[in-house]
């Protein structure tokens, strides 16, 4: 397995270089370093001298990919792309264009995102699987049909509606929880109840339908018939056999998400005032802060690759036939 992981990590290097290259090309196609300087320096009293010094200070006076003024290898190495990319591979994200340490910012913002995303993910997983098993247990009944209709209805409504409706209902009308805010530790529990509840509810429709279809594929298999023939109760059949055999496709979709839970959710964090990573990239794009954009795209790619590797590893845990 170790050889497999090392191989996959080596494969990741050209992928990350490619992602980085595309990020550079796309960003600088839309924003010139002069525009970036203006966005950072403000609207008033921005002189050409000020812009020039800002660019020099941050290395944006260097050419992007080819330095025609340099000679030899320096034509490639003395460029913005190489200069900035090398630091990324050592996970040195440097400083944002507004002079904040990006690594320290990510570290600070990761936990608030995670404190919402993890409970949402766990509760949603348990709720969705339990409801799906319940529907499989009562498959073909009125309960099954009506729940499927409700699931489609839940899926059809925008997540933003649930957020606003949730805030109005639970905070404004019933006064149960704060409408938004964040605190770390136990004091913060009251702030995460509503976003977690809404996150779970908004995902129920698609989750339940997906898990139900996985379990229904299993329910008519021979091993299920054998289990029933042994006299096992329907609940034992579902939890002991159907769920276990349905785990493989579930893992494919679920484990890959786990590392990216740190990256947060833009809308959820924005509406609930969660100081997470959800809006970090979007804010950086809006303020043309390239240092943050490239760091976040790189981090997102790394986490996605880690998620894929974890998925492969998790297969071996649930299916002994799989060898890496």
């Amino acid at each position: 397995m170790l050889a497999y992981i090392i191989r996959r990590l080596l494969y990741a290097i050209p992928i990350l270089i490619g992602v980085n290259l595309i990020t550079f090309m796309l960003f600088f196609m839309v924003n010139s370093p002069d525009d970036m300087a203006r966005a950072q320096l403000g609207a008033k009293q921005v002189t050409p001298e000020l812009i020039a010094s800002w660019k020099e200070e941050r290395g944006y006076d260097k050419p992007l990919f080819i330095n025609t003024k340099a000679e030899g290898f320096a034509q490639v190495s003395d460029t913005l792309f190489v200069h900035e990319s090398l630091k990324l591979f050592s996970f040195d994200f440097g400083f944002s264009d507004s002079n904040r340490n990006i690594g320290a910012d990510i570290k600070e913002r990761m936990m608030p995102s995670f404190s919402i995303a993890l409970p949402t993910f766990m509760i949603a997983l348990i709720t969705n699987i339990s409801l799906a098993l319940l529907l499989v247990l009562f498959r073909g009944s009125m309960l099954d049909t009506s729940m499927m209709i409700v699931a489609v209805m839940i899926m059809s409504v925008s997540g933003l509606f649930y957020i606003i409706a949730g805030q109005v209902l639970f905070s404004k009308i019933w006064h149960w929880v704060p409408i938004s805010g964040y605190e770390s530790g136990w004091d913060g529990v009251k702030f995460i109840i509503l976003p977690v509840m809404i996150g779970v509810f908004a995902g129920i429709g698609s989750g339940v339908r997906w898990y139900r279809s996985i379990f229904l594929e299993q329910i008519n298999q021979d091993y299920v018939r054998t289990a029933r023939a042994k006299g096992l109760s329907e609940i034992k059949v579902l939890f002991g056999h159907v769920l276990r055999n349905g785990m493989l496709p579930i893992l494919t979709g679920v484990v890959v998400i786990i590392p990216s839970l740190f990256m947060g959710s833009l809308i959820m964090e924005s509406f609930f005032g969660i100081p997470g990573l959800g809006s970090y990239t979007i804010d950086a794009i809006n303020s043309q802060d390239f240092a943050i954009v490239k760091a976040m795209v790189f981090l997102g790619s790394v986490l996605y690759i880690i998620g894929l590797i974890l998925t492969d590893i998790s297969y071996t845990l649930f299916d002994p036939r799989v060898k890496l």
């Binding site: 839309v30 924003n31 010139s32 525009d35 203006r38 966005a39 950072q40 320096l41 403000g42 008033k44 009293q45 921005v46 002189t47 050409p48 001298e49 000020l50 010094s53 800002w54 200070e57 507004s98 002079n99 904040r100 340490n101 320290a104 910012d105 600070e108 913002r109 608030p112 319940l134 247990l137 009562f138 309960l143 606003i164 805030q167 109005v168 905070s171 404004k172 009308i173 019933w174 006064h175 149960w176 929880v177 704060p178 409408i179 938004s180 805010g181 964040y182 009251k190 702030f191 109760s233 329907e234 609940i235 924005s270 509406f271 609930f272 005032g273 100081p275 809006s279 804010d283 043309q288």
Partner: protein
């Protein structure tokens, strides 16, 4: 089942005692009951370095922490300057080229000398940068790796102390402005005024570069600006080229706030910079408050500076007059990016004040048939106050004066612009798009600034008639007549026979702006002119304006200081954008020699009747030329709860927090009254869940039993 029912009862027993309290308070009860102001910010501050920041949302924090030499009187209107850290207003001497004193009005004036005498009782907030060891060396100026490992915030330093404010701190701040690497936005303009700043800046920028490459700390005490002289601990002299009376206004701004050299050296340590502990993020000031928590992504917290000097509420008949400032102990600013949570928290009493978003406008404000604004019944029931004021800002639609069609100074081009100025109905714009939160502009100068005149005297007679004591927009027929005289009868060019087509450049590309763009088209259509909207991103838009590649565009200006020069320089020919490589602020590229000559005379004058006469002449010229469609001056509306007091709008001052007051007892009483939890739905939901579990369990058991009884042939 029995266990479930028992648990539900237990849950309810726990729940009911909570019924007397408040569940949705985002703040702790202890904080709500304390002398703390709760407010919000929607844009995270990016820089709190006073030499760098040029943004109102950052000044909201900086203004409470740093103290420039002067401030605006909180109560007096028109705006009046008064000493803040000085014993008196700066004394000004006028000097000839030999530096001999001459009369203010003498033509030989080459320099102005501003002498600042500092108060001796002003001390900085407690800060680790000031701590010294037994040998009088700064204790934390060169931290070891080991020491840095234990430090995550300023609270991790064992010791903090203070020191008195010195004249050299103001000189140090001006020196920091000169370091090009600090990117001070006013460096280039101040170089033309402060004697020796340009030479200093050129030299120190090279030194700073060398020091950085060698990893050394830059101590600016070793370098001097020829025009900034420190005469003892409390006397500073600043020499200005020529006469520049507006310099006094600059002395109220954060760019001239003192910087203690100890703090500059302390924050230059690389180990602290990597932890985001920098002067840019952790200010060191003498103001009424210090920044106790800086998390721009969540919360900024200001706490009363225990070392704050003696300052009292301005003398007046107010109940707080002559009382010691500040009144509020702590201020918590929370980041609220979305208007819905912000608005609801305000209504719940968890924010003490709020602006009015367009979504909440109808809920908060009602406009009477006479057009006056008042609070809605819901707001009145909550005893909320509405505070409105016209901002010292001007938003306008500019004609690019170098454009061959809309630009130029011929009679026909003037008439074309005048016709368009009449046709664009600003009153309608204010009504439709601004909820009446604005007033139509008569010139570039907004209310509250010297040179603005109300009533008939201040009317733009090119666009308005004065009828029955009111400005009445001239008729569309008159605009059409002007257009015909300009060579475009009914919008058709007499030269080409084709309809006149104009281009409006804008960065307003979102779907929300579609209605606005349609409205603009409609306004031009009333004259038969076709308006083509050229929507682009903000970068391209700015680029086009700078290079003069536009015909029409909208732009705006907020006052830096309450002087007409700060608005009329937007029309001064030497500031034309196309002639200054985009650096000039005259975006419409208006150049009229007569206007320019008057501007040069007016800009160094004091606010006298003579100055007023010159301004009137300038406004007359610019109204005739019509380089802008004189757009609007926005009105700001704010709401505040009954327990938030002494709230007086002041468009120029940034340090007004110290005058405000909170009645925490009333706040907590109202919060409890307005936020009692409604528990009935919770009980109903719990019962429904129980019922469902019970029913499903029963159905399942029946089904299982049916199988068994079928197998046994018993059913």
């Amino acid at each position: 089942m029995k266990m479930i029912i028992q648990n539900v009862f237990l849950f309810m027993m726990v729940l009911f005692p909570l019924h007397s309290g408040v569940w949705n308070n985002p703040h702790s009860e202890e904080k709500s009951a304390s002398n703390t102001l709760f407010t919000s910010f929607s844009l995270s501050p990016k820089r709190l370095d006073p030499v760098v920041s040029y943004n109102a949302n950052e000044w909201a924090f900086i203004g409470q922490i740093y103290e420039p030499p002067l401030q605006y009187n909180y109560l007096q209107r028109p705006y009046k300057l008064e000493p803040l850290t000085l014993t008196q207003m700066p004394t000004i001497r006028y000097l000839d080229k030999e530096r001999q004193e001459v009369d203010e009005n003498d033509e030989r004036v080459v320099y102005s000398e501003y002498r600042l005498e500092l108060r001796k009782d002003i001390r900085y907030q407690d800060h680790p940068a000031f701590v010294k060891d037994a040998k009088d060396h700064l204790l934390y100026a060169s931290l070891s790796e080991e020491a840095l490992e234990k430090i995550e915030s300023l609270d991790d330093f064992g010791q903090k102390t203070t020191r008195h404010l010195l004249a050299e701190d103001y000189a140090y701040a001006i020196k920091r402005m000169g370091v090009r690497q600090n990117h001070s936005p006013i460096l280039d303009s101040m170089q033309t005024y402060i004697v020796g700043l340009k030479t200093f800046s050129d030299d120190i920028t090279k030194v700073a570069k060398e020091k950085k490459s060698e990893g050394e700390v830059l101590d600016l005490r070793a370098y001097d600006i020829s025009g900034v002289k420190i005469l003892g601990d409390t006397t500073l002299v600043i020499e200005i080229n020529g006469k520049y009376p507006q310099f006094l206004y600059w002395l109220t701004m954060n760019f001239f706030a003192p910087i203690p050299w100890e703090a500059d050296l302390f924050y230059q340590q690389k180990g602290l910079v990597s932890k985001n502990l920098t002067l840019n993020w952790y200010p060191v000031g003498t103001g009424a408050y210090y920044l106790a928590e800086n998390n721009p992504n969540k919360q900024m917290r200001l706490v009363k500076n225990p070392n704050f000097h003696d300052e009292t509420y301005p003398a007046s008949d107010h109940e707080d007059a002559e009382k010691k400032l500040p009144f509020i102990d702590e201020v918590i600013y929370s980041l609220e990016k979305e208007s819905i949570p912000l608005w609801n928290k305000f209504l719940q009493g968890y924010y003490d004040a709020s602006g009015i978003s367009s979504e909440a406008f109808d809920q908060a404000v009602q406009i009477s048939s006479s057009g006056t604004m008042g609070l809605s019944e819901e707001m009145q029931e909550k005893d909320i106050s509405l505070i409105g004021s016209v901002q010292p800002s001007t938003f306008y639609l500019a004609f690019n004066m170098v454009d061959p069609i809309v630009g130029g100074y011929t009679e026909s081009s003037k008439k074309l612009r005048q016709a368009i100025s009449i046709a664009i109905d600003q009153e309608e714009y204010i009504s439709i798009f601004m909820n009446e939160r604005g007033m139509a502009a008569q010139s570039a100068i907004p209310p509250g600034i010297f040179g603005y005149e109300e009533g008939k005297k201040g009317a733009n007679t090119v666009v308005y008639d004065w009828v029955d004591g009111k400005h009445v927009r001239r008729s569309l027929a008159f605009a059409k007549q002007l257009l015909a005289e300009a060579g475009y009868p009914n919008g058709i060019s007499t030269k080409t026979g084709k309809p006149l087509k104009l281009h409006y450049d804008t960065a307003a590309t979102g779907p929300d702006n579609r209605a606005l763009m349609d409205w603009y088209r409609k306004q031009f259509d009333t004259l038969g002119i076709q308006l083509v909207i050229r929507a682009t991103d903000y970068n391209r838009f700015q680029d086009k304006v700078r290079k003069g590649k536009t015909q029409l565009f909208s732009w705006g200006w907020n006052a830096d200081y309450p002087d007409p020069e700060n608005f009329l320089f937007l029309l001064y020919g030497a500031n034309a954008s196309v002639d200054t490589n985009g650096a000039g602020i005259n975006s419409s590229n208006y150049k009229n020699p007569a206007f320019d000559k008057l501007f040069e005379k007016m800009k160094t004058m004091k606010n006298t009747p003579q100055r007023m006469d010159i301004i009137r002449q300038m406004l007359k010229i610019s109204r005739e030329d019509a380089p802008w469609v004189w757009g609007i001056h926005p009105k700001s509306l704010a709401l505040s709860h009954a327990w938030y007091r002494n709230v007086i709008p002041h468009a120029m001052a940034n340090n007004t927090l110290k005058y405000k007051r909170i009645d925490a007892a009333l706040r907590i009483k109202k919060q409890k009254e307005w936020n009692q939890p409604v528990v009935t739905p919770l009980i109903i939901i719990a019962l429904l869940v129980l019922l469902m579990i019970f029913s499903l369990r029963r159905i399942y058991r029946n089904r299982q039993n049916r199988v068994i009884c079928q197998e046994q042939g018993a059913c």
